[in-house]
Symmetry: C2
Subunit: 209 residues, 2 copies
DNA sequence: TCCATTATTGCCCTCGGTGCCAATACGGTG
DNA sequence: CACCGTATTGGCACCGAGGGCAATAATGGA
């Protein structure tokens, strides 16, 4: 990404730190692994690690922010002749697509994220951004504000369904993630179909948060 | 609750600590308020405060655990001739019923919980217990395991809908919380109606977590 | 009064996270 | 090669949340 500009070059990469961190997490568990151990193993200073990641909890998230931007873009590029529900379903599936070769690593990451209490809690903040992307899209499609009740509800429900699918996927090695997502999102169509009748009643924008 | 048993009597109460803490949170914000300040203002030692609450994040939650037990009991006592969706809807409404006199305090609490990042994150853990109660009920009504996909999905979706209603309620002083919950939960009926056909296929229990 | 019981408290420690500042490793210029 | 601007690194001191432990205080009862 970053071109060769002046200044001292970074001594490591996010990818490398992640790899080392995951090894330690696997060996000793997330909570029993200190930031100092990770830094030492990565050959950098504690202080430096905190410049690569704002918090210990952020380490396992990988390229989430970038993926989020792709999700938003995927939604934007969705043709308007498919229903909102289908567009959301398709984009969420794309968001969660993983290269077959990387599927084991992905399972490892998601298992850690969903089974570690500290990370479960932290995930809420990331999920907030995820929901916002969905809500924005739904709002835009329906001529509403992203802060309106309906788009936000869709964001929340979509997240609930996606997490449900993920949890199942993690517990059942055989199942296919895209398949589970399809099943889960079938339910979303009802929400969007039902509420479509309500759209005309454009309400005042919420206070935001 | 606890009878007059032997031993040194507690020097304060959760209610009192909460009141003091909320005052400080209002004045300076949650993050800018240290546990020590709360302890001092409450006239107890820092160490003692941590025996009343396992963490700073737990202070604003009040009687949540007890309310959860009531939710579970309310569900158990629900007649079986009402649909699962109705039972859930009714019970969630009961769970969120607040005495009219206490509604302002409740708004204050919920606003803090939903607008403070640290608390949003922590909430996920409490919500996990909430979802488990709903999932258990749905599972039991449908002869499934609480770890099966369907009950857990219902738990997640119900939570999503309830939070959506709450958020709206907080931003719009006029709206009625029970009303918003009713609107939100209308969507839940589809989930439960749809999936009912799937029930016969009892699947192997998940691994639990 | 002495005892068993329970709550409070102080002390010390660990860990995550931040502010500050000096040291370091480049690429480019004279 | 010496020098310079720049960006990253890393050390240090500091804060706040939280836990382990042992001493102590306050009660009711024998």
């Amino acid at each position: 990404m970053r071109k060769k500009g002046p200044g001292r070059p970074p001594v490591t990469t996010h990818a490398l730190i992640e790899e080392i961190a995951f090894r330690l997490f696997d060996e000793q568990g997330f909570d029993n692994t200190t930031v100092e151990q990770i830094a030492d193993a990565a050959g950098i200073a504690r202080r430096t690690l905190f410049r690569y990641y704002p918090s210990k909890n952020d380490i396992p998230w990988g390229q989430f922010d970038e993926s989020l931007r792709h999700l938003a873009q995927h939604l934007r590029e969705m043709p308007t002749d498919v229903s909102t529900a289908e567009a959301v379903q398709e984009s969420v599936k794309a968001f969660n697509h993983v290269d077959p070769a990387a599927v084991e690593q992905h399972r490892r990451r998601m298992r850690l994220l969903m089974n570690t209490p500290a990370l479960q809690a932290h995930a809420t903040l990331r999920h907030g951004a995820w929901r916002a992307v969905i809500a924005s899209y739904v709002a835009q499609r329906h001529g509403m504000s992203p802060d309106d009740l309906h788009p936000r509800t869709i964001g929340r429900v979509a997240l609930a369904l996606a997490l449900s699918a993920y949890q199942q996927w993690l517990e059942d090695e055989q199942t296919s993630l895209p398949g589970l997502l399809d099943e889960a999102f079938a339910a979303l169509h009802h929400h969007l179909d039902d509420q479509r009748a309500v759209i005309p009643e454009r309400r005042a924008a919420g206070t935001g948060q």
